[in-house]
Assembly symmetry: C2
Homo-oligomer: 198 residues x 2
DNA sequence: ACCTGAACACCGTTCAAGT
DNA sequence: ACCTGAACACCGTTCAAGT
């Protein structure tokens, strides 16, 4: 006779995320997750292949949440592309500050563990890709988006990891970086002066 | 009566690095390190406070090695600063490709674990700082160096983590990024047209 | 002073037995 | 069909006992 479900995959992922954000990856044990969802550790394996699999699921959920923030930040197609770049970069950064451990999971877990689906990746890339295309034109949009994403993820990593320790104003360095990218991308777009309106 | 030393801190760190590079962080167990240096696991605690401490030591050693590569890549003070930036960026990237797990340690371990000394950090920052200063002038050198470092570490992370999956040519994206930064920094230096020669 | 075996607490994971 | 206790292999770490 079947037992009624005492938890769900959604609940498990949510519990894992909460534990991760409260205490870091070391505290994310199967036992802690089980306790939080009101079940014994072995039962988790009915919904999750392994701890690594759970980590991958949390990373995917986090990437999804991040994408939502980026989309909300990116302005409408008509608005000033430089201001849009600023807004997207700031959204990136404030998300990472809000949820540093989840964010760290998305970008620093090895490929074998956290490997988001093709579809989710395309979805997540769109806001940055759009902003980049508006600045630099369609031909270099992918390269421009990769440059922006690389800079943003790197900056955030260095900041969260406390690697900016030579003094100076980190805020100023952030603005300096955004402006440099915005100026550079706009200058690089001279061969495509007309924004594509299609 | 004292027992003759059967290993050393240097040997332990080297063994840990080798294990890390061969099998990733998960395989870096105290037992594996002990076995490699010819000792039992508890003996390691005579030279190393904890596994996390050993990880921190490996990260420091790696940062030291990386710095050497960056220094070798950075040209003499007189040479073309744009070419120097290219060379430093390439050195960064090829080091990360050679030793991805060690590199990952340096930049993605939380502050509480891997926290390199002030002196080592200053030493490591110098090559990029010099290149940046040559391009942008002294006033914005720190911000410029942070922008370059952020882009490079981010790009490498995304590449190593297999996050560039939207097609396109990753090589071209790398060149695009370097050129954008070089052009942007040079343009930003217009208020300091004379390179500082001192 | 360094090294060791034994022990402890704690993991992730498996599995037979329950309902 | 889901849940559980018991068990297994394997961690990091401590410590008293050896030399």
């Amino acid at each position: 006779m079947p037992t009624p479900d005492r938890t769900s995959l959604t609940e498990i992922v949510a519990a894992g995320t909460a534990i991760l954000e409260a205490g870091g990856l070391d505290r994310l044990t199967m036992q802690a997750v089980a306790e939080r969802v009101g079940v014994r550790a072995p039962s988790l394996y009915k919904r999750v292949r392994s701890r690594d699999h759970l980590i991958a699921l949390i990373a995917e959920q986090t990437l999804h949440d991040l994408t939502e923030q980026l989309e909300a930040a990116a302005g409408l197609p008509g608005s000033d592309p430089r201001e849009n770049l600023r807004a997207v970069a700031r959204a990136f950064r404030s998300f990472a500050r809000d949820r540093p451990d989840s964010y760290g999971l998305v970008f620093s877990q090895p490929r074998e563990i956290a490997n988001p689906s093709e579809a989710l990746l395309a979805f997540a890339s769109k806001p940055v890709l759009d902003v980049a295309a508006a600045l630099v034109g369609p031909d270099d949009a992918l390269e421009a988006a990769r440059t922006v994403t690389a800079w943003a993820t790197g900056f955030i990593f260095l900041e969260l990891g406390g690697r900016f320790r030579l003094g100076g104003d980190v805020e100023r360095a952030f603005d300096f970086g955004v402006d440099l990218l915005a100026d550079g991308l706009q200058a690089a777009s001279k061969s495509h002066p007309e924004p594509v309106a299609r």
